[in-house]
Amino acid sequence: MPNKALLVAVAAIAGVAATSWLLATDNTGRFSGHTTKLAGEAAPATHQADVLAASQPQQAQPEPPSDNALGFMLASVADDYRQTIRYPEYSIPLTPAQAEAYQGNRYHPVALPLEGDGEFVVTLDKFRFKRGEPILVAASLTGRQVFGDTMSATLESIPDRDREDSAVLESVEPGYYEGTVSSDHDPGEYRLIVEARVDSSAVRHVSTLNIEPDLGNFEGLERPYVTGNDLVIPVKFDPKNSGHYSLSAQLYSGNTPLALLQQETALSSGSGTIELRAHGSVLAGRDLQGSLQLRNLQIRQLPARPGDPTHYAYGPNEGYEFSPPDLEKLRDEPAVNPESEQRAQLLQQLADRF
């Protein structure tokens, strides 16, 4: 028995000591992951400069920043900005998170809280619909309330509040409902009203979507070629109407996003070609095997005058695949953009004062 008591006492002392050691913040071996990260590694929030810096040659020893935290941040912004402007506005590199964000036409599920911890969530697969394509509506209900077996979905025009279409959403599994509403209505902004029965009362979840006019047709790519320090990818688009258009697309190699390409141009109705350009700064020195892909094509008819709406259309879901020409001549050199350069200089002057 005395031995047992001794063992219990030793175990208790060891436990207290171990707990104290764990709780002490001098125990950097257990808890210092975050501090070492702050001191050197890139943060989880992927800032473009973190990605861009990888391809930068290291510069001369910098001046140490002054004892001014906001000044330090401004110097940091100036430094980051200096790195971004080596890429022209028409060809910018993308982090994976930016590639997802700049796909365009994304719809984030919209939640409506119910009494208690419940939620009424509606999800669409996109925000803008080409006239005529089905609007698939998915809804879910969670919580302790009693829910009905079906829901209804109604499409209402803005601002007239005309009920353009309605459908029943069937339960596909407990708490989950699906159905389809037609988008074959005049282009414009609409409210999607999804009505559920919650504890025998109607609850309406309302969100917004857009039906876009037919802007024209994507007709594929012409043969890409290299000129100067750009890979030029001509995209054929036949617009219905003349106007000022902006085309953007993401250049991929396999599953790796290389760049967001964008170009603004005036097009006449009938037929047109918009030349996207991938600058050498996003392509040179990369191990690119085989074909490249142009994905997430989005064309916008820009408002001719203030107050006009922007109209959107999208390329084929599968994008376009092409065999690039010889890219050996492309160089990883900074782009020349006098306005961005001037902006960078002014930001640097601002930062230099600290």
Binding site: A45, H47, Q48, M73, G307, E339, L347
Partner: protein
């Protein structure tokens, strides 16, 4: 290289900055770092209940909005009515002022735009189109050095999502949600009276004029309470009572986040955080302040510590020592050791976030 540890005492430099700010308040200049300042205000709830009858009403509300701090520190404003839509009357009203700014040559030497809240979204639409519209009118496009977004709502707010649903629900529906929406909009929402709140829905905002451009957006983010805190539980992640942190930081997704940094809380505590998975191109979170609410960021409100959004300590490609006050605070349960580590702008609670920004840039 590790973070320097400094004393709790504000430095002489900090006190000098704060004092300079106080003096400037009496004799302010309408420039930041030698560049003219253009202000773009946020959502004005009064416009929903009492729509402005004329442009002079819109201008008067715009001036009143900035009067506490920025009004006499700006060269021009772009005022707009909140009972309208961004791609509609708001763009038309804003453009008339953009024209005047161009005609007066106020941005020939690069302007700095200062936006608050929905002004972020309005500015994005204007910047995307102003060059083409002005050139069509035979005018010079505005040259913009940078945009300082205070509590930027460019990513929308869940309160706007709720407002649209509340407009269609009977009076019994979820009383706390209705109260939060009423606090935010100042009205009992109806389908036709929401104005720019429609554009502030998270999906609408994040599908409006989002293409990247070369103008840097510097983000300043609050985390305090507005309206007695009744809105907070309905906004994803942390927020300033109106705008979620995912929006104010410039995060690429509307998923709720708690900080603009993955390793620094809004209070400055060095710790793993639910930060953004990515930021929009050319968006740079600069300062956070856990105590500053949505309105505090543009007023003289003091007492809120500001935190620099330090993601790493690499500058010019090399790791450098970070110059800021850091200190360690030991919790009651920590038996020994130096405690949690915090990073903050020294003395920033002695001044407002706007004054800190203004005086630093005019240093």
């Amino acid at each position: 290289m590790t973070i320097k540890e400094r004393s709790l005492k504000p430095s002489k430099h900090t006190l000098a900055v704060a004092l300079a700010g106080t003096l400037f308040a009496g004799a302010a200049q309408a420039q930041l770092a030698g560049h003219n300042v253009i202000l773009v205000h946020g959502f004005m709830m009064d416009d929903l209940s009492n729509p402005p009858a004329s442009f002079s009403d819109v201008q008067q509300a715009g001036a009143d909005n900035w009067r506490d701090y920025w009004l006499n520190r700006s060269e021009a404003r772009i005022d707009w009515p909140s009972n309208a839509r961004v791609e509609g009357q708001i763009a038309q009203t804003a453009y008339q002022q953009v024209r005047q700014i161009s005609q007066q040559g106020l941005c020939n030497n690069y302007c700095i735009m200062v936006t608050h809240s929905t002004g972020d979204l309005v500015t994005r639409h204007i910047l995307e189109n102003q060059a083409r519209w002005l050139q069509a009118d035979g005018l010079q496009p505005l040259k913009i050095l940078a945009v300082l977004d205070l509590a930027g709502a460019g990513g929308g707010t869940e309160l706007a999502d709720l407002a649209v649903s509340v407009a269609y629900n009977d009076s019994w529906y979820n009383w706390p949600v209705k109260q939060a929406v009423k606090a935010f909009t100042g009205i009992d929402p109806e389908p036709g009276n929401l104005g720019v709140v429609n554009d502030l829905q998270t999906n609408t905002a994040r599908n409006l004029a989002v293409n990247p451009n070369s103008i840097p957006r510097l983000r300043f983010v609050g985390g305090g309470s507005s309206y007695g805190g009744i809105t907070k539980s309905f906004i994803e992640g942390t927020d300033d009572g109106v705008v979620p942190t995912h929006s104010a930081c410039g995060a690429t997704s509307a998923n709720g986040i708690d900080s603009c940094s993955g390793n620094l809380s809004m209070a400055g505590k060095v710790s793993s955080q639910n930060g953004p998975s990515g930021l929009y191109y050319n968006h740079y979170p600069v300062l956070m302040s856990e105590g500053a609410n949505h309105g505090d960021v543009i007023t003289n409100q003091t007492g809120n510590m500001a935190v620099p959004v330090v993601n790493n300590t690499v500058l010019n490609g090399l790791q450098v020592d970070f110059a800021s006050r850091t200190y360690n605070k030991r919790a009651w349960w920590q038996l020994w050791g130096s405690g949690d580590q915090y990073v903050e702008v020294p003395g920033s609670d002695q001044t407002s976030m706007s004054n800190l920004l203004y005086t630093t840039l005019n240093n």
